[in-house]
């Protein structure tokens, strides 16, 4: 019987915590703004509201006397929010870098079933057939804008560690400069077709040694010169580019390439393009827009980072909740006599609860803002690199968006809510007589 009651109370408490928390985390900004407005109105207009405000004022004014224990709430929550926002910013940054790489009006053609460029082989004839399709845009000279591309991997020492890591060497065709019109050459010049010349992406140049303009490096036994640095503002920045036939010769690929990238006449032409290639008996290929292709590459990795990040944040949040509980229980018991006095002269329980909650959530908000600001200051645009789908390094920047900061603040409020609600109830339920005798 007794256990049943305990179970029921336990379940009720769990529901009482979880439901508001989920609501809080899922709430859009306007719902929170509306509830904030309602709270302000309640405080300004009703008697109970004014009572709550005055109790909260005393609590907040005396935070200075409990600086040590109040900072536990602030710092604890700042830690949770900081770690959460940083890890989510990493996932968002990785995703954004790859998403920018593709567009809806460019298509990539791979051998059927191969999933990634490294796995795929498209022979010279198939590449020709693909670029002759009616949906491929022609340039001013009437040539189809297409680039047969080769992806190979070279080992170069990293600037940061001095250890060898993989850099992606991409052979691109003549069409590449028409395909990637946003590319800016920030140093040197384009490579000349037919020569063993390379251009390094901006990030690859920053990450790896030996990619300065004018330097030369040995690839598969042959000497190549670096003649330029380009900035494409997407994941091609992590790559080194050369002329497809020359790269193919160096790596003994013959006239085969890994993929063909084409510019479509417009995004709407994709379905027709796909159907045209599918119905051609000479071809056995998969077609997708580059947007889909690069998005799919980031999918697994960013999902994993998000899961890991949220798990770490949840464990840290549990720690922070208990810290906040300790602090607020101590705060309530230090103010026991004051609260009992208020109750004795006619203040109701409700305002007491609201005031304690208000104080905790204010501290939590401060912590959340601190954590979010620190993360933003340190990690926004922070550069990192990881192993991408083509077995080579993809460089990306962390992206601390306002949306992430906002969700960090919501986490802070949720932690503050749980850390405050139990001490608040104890304060409101405390027998007045016992409270007055306290100390």
């Amino acid at each position: 019987m007794n256990t049943l009651r305990i179970l029921r109370t336990g379940a009720a408490t769990a529901v009482a915590i979880i439901v508001p928390m989920v609501l809080l985390l899922a709430a859009p900004w306007w719902a929170l703004a509306a509830s904030l407005a309602a709270l302000v109105a309640w405080m300004a207009l009703t008697r109970a509201g004014r009572q709550a405000l005055s109790i909260a004022r005393v609590g907040i004014a005396t935070i200075g006397q409990r600086l040590g224990s109040s900072s536990v709430v602030v710092v604890g929550i700042a830690g949770v929010v900081g770690v959460l926002v940083a890890l989510l910013a990493m996932a968002a940054g990785f995703e954004a870098t790859l998403a920018q790489t593709g567009t809806d009006d460019m298509a990539i053609v791979l051998r059927a079933g191969s999933q990634t460029e490294t796995n795929s082989i498209v022979d010279h004839d198939s590449a020709q057939i693909v670029s002759q399709a009616a949906q491929v845009l022609k340039n001013l000279h009437g040539q189809p804008i297409a680039s047969p591309e080769l992806v190979v991997v070279a080992s170069l020492p990293k600037r940061s560690t001095g250890l060898d890591a993989n850099v992606e060497l991409r052979g691109v065709g003549d069409g590449a400069w028409d395909l990637h019109r946003n590319i800016k050459i920030i140093d040197g010049r384009k490579f000349s077709p037919g020569l063993r010349e390379l251009m390094a992406g901006k990030s690859a140049h920053e990450q790896f040694k030996g990619l300065d303009v004018g330097s030369s490096l040995k690839l598969n036994g042959q000497l190549w010169n670096v003649v330029g640095i380009f900035d494409s503002a997407d994941s091609h920045n992590s790559e080194v580019w050369g002329d497809t036939p020359v790269v193919g010769a160096t790596y003994r690929r013959g006239s085969n390439t890994n993929s063909v990238v084409v510019q479509l006449t417009d995004a709407g032409a994709f379905d027709a393009f796909k159907a045209a290639l599918a119905s051609d008996p000479r071809l056995k290929v998969d077609v997708m827009t580059t947007h889909d292709y690069y998005n799919r590459q980031s999918e697994t990795m960013s999902r994993e980072i998000r899961i890991v990040g949220t798990t770490i944040a949840v464990i840290m949040a549990i720690g922070a909740v208990f810290g906040a509980l300790n602090t607020m229980y101590a705060a309530v018991s230090a103010r026991a006599r004051e609260i009992a006095t208020l109750r004795a002269i006619g203040f109701r329980g409700g305002p007491v609860i609201v005031s304690v909650l208000l104080e905790t959530m204010l501290l939590a908000l401060l912590g959340g803002a601190l954590g979010a600001t620190l993360t933003w200051a340190i990690f926004d645009n922070y550069t990192a690199s990881t192993l991408g789908m083509n077995f080579s390094q993809v460089v990306f920047s962390f992206r601390v968006s306002p949306l992430l900061l906002w969700s960090g603040l919501k986490w802070a409020l949720a932690i503050g809510f749980i850390g405050g609600v139990f001490p608040a109830m104890r304060a409101a339920r405390m027998p007045v007589m016992a409270g007055l005798r306290e100390l």
Binding site: G79, V83, M316, G319
Partner: protein, 390 residues
């Protein structure tokens, strides 16, 4: 030790507060255990001796380039090489690209070099005899409810068959186990026969992805590695040979600086933890000033009061920390079996001796830091002032 009961009683004087603090400490060390398990897997800080006598030979240019199979005989002829085998990445997809597991084509003597892969004698014979045979790890078999005798279709991503078809069908002839918990992640692998792959594939015939060399004497590792690399020096397929562990560590390192990320997170966690428990301890000592004064009146020396308070804070952290680490061990074990292996190790190592040792040192250190200020305060109490509440 004789004061243990006194310390224990002091610790649970305010049981709710202590419980909450313990739970915070628990959360911190749970996180420490989980993250350190990942970190040690990525930094190759494995204390497993398996594979210490094996070298891996890959293309110097890139892991993704293949090597000619003709190299095998020349590698085997090197002095100091006990045995050599080869394998090729197959990269098969079962039903959906999301169902990722590593699939490799291996030579007939693969299992001779990897005795940790435990397979019964008749299943082993079947894998040897049946051309389209395949063996899988117990964890993988369990995940997809495969049993010996099943036909398993895989979609090739790298190797279409001669007729251009991408579907390869294998006969499951054996299920292997790994008894070393460090290697449990390897039970997610799928092995097929290299002979079958080479015979039926359209391209890259006569090439292998990498060689594995078993050393006669592991002390000769560097010399043998150099000799193997010298075989192909200045050819169009130069090789790079290194120990299996070094190979794994280098591969894992490419995922990013996991050590740095873990370090930064743990820094944030422990900074908070010190502040939080420091606050608890300060409160506990502040409340007990008269009690400490009475202890001193009874004849406890300044040093024993210092020891009592420090002991209390260390006990607090160790209690929470030990439970947290134990919990981390349970969680890691549950997660590990469901993750595919990353190279020769799983992305998480079990919470073993090294992590426990580090954790315990950390607990004592944090306990001492946290207890220091309150303990000094307790030590410096003047009995008269404390008793009169000044």
């Amino acid at each position: 030790m004789k004061y243990f009961q006194l310390i224990w009683a002091a610790l649970f004087r305010r049981s709710t507060r202590t419980l909450f603090t313990l739970l915070s400490v628990l959360a911190a060390f749970l996180l420490f255990g989980l993250l350190d398990s990942v970190r040690s897997a990525f930094t190759g800080a494995t204390n497993s001796v398996a594979g210490a006598d094996r070298l891996i030979t890959v293309s110097k240019i890139s892991l993704t380039l293949s090597l000619p199979k003709s190299l095998l005989e020349r590698i085997e002829a090197q002095p100091g090489v006990a045995e050599a085998t080869y394998a090729n990445w197959f990269g098969g997809i079962y039903q959906d690209p999301k169902n990722f597991f590593p699939s490799q084509a291996v030579a007939d003597n693969f299992l001779d070099l990897y005795p940790e892969w435990e397979l019964s004698a008749d299943q082993r014979r079947a894998f040897h005899d049946i051309r389209t045979g395949a063996i899988v790890g117990a964890s993988l078999a369990e995940k997809y409810h495969w049993k010996v005798g099943d036909k398993i279709p895989l979609q090739a991503t790298l190797f279409p068959q001669k007729d251009g078809s991408n579907t390869w069908t294998f006969d499951l002839v054996g299920i292997y186990h790994m008894s070393d918990p460090n290697l449990r992640g390897q039970e997610n692998n799928f092995y097929l026969k290299w002979d079958y792959l080479d015979e039926a594939r359209q391209l890259d015939k006569g090439t292998v992805g990498w060689y594995v060399v078993k050393l006669a004497d592991r002390r000769n590792a560097d010399r043998v590695a150099e000799a193997i690399d010298a075989l192909s020096f200045d050819s169009d397929h130069e090789t790079k040979t290194e120990s299996e562990q070094a190979f794994t560590a280098a591969f894992a390192g490419q995922f990013g600086d996991i050590g740095l990320i873990v370090g930064a997170i743990m820094g944030a966690v422990f900074f908070t933890l010190v502040l939080l428990t420091g606050n608890t301890m300060a409160q506990a000592v502040r409340e007990r000033v008269p009690e400490l004064a009475i202890l001193k009146t009874l004849g406890f020396s300044n040093r024993s009061v210092l020891g009592l308070v420090l002991g209390e804070s260390v006990l607090l952290i160790v209690l929470g920390g030990v439970v947290g680490l134990a919990l981390a061990g349970v969680v890691v074990n549950a997660v590990r079996t469901s993750l595919p292996a990353m190279g020769p190790t799983s992305p998480m190592l079990p919470v073993g001796g090294a992590i426990w040792l580090q954790g315990l040192c950390l607990m004592i250190l944090v306990g001492l830091i946290v207890g220091a200020l309150p303990a000094v305060r307790g030590m410096r109490l003047r009995i008269v002032d404390a008793l009169s509440g000044r």
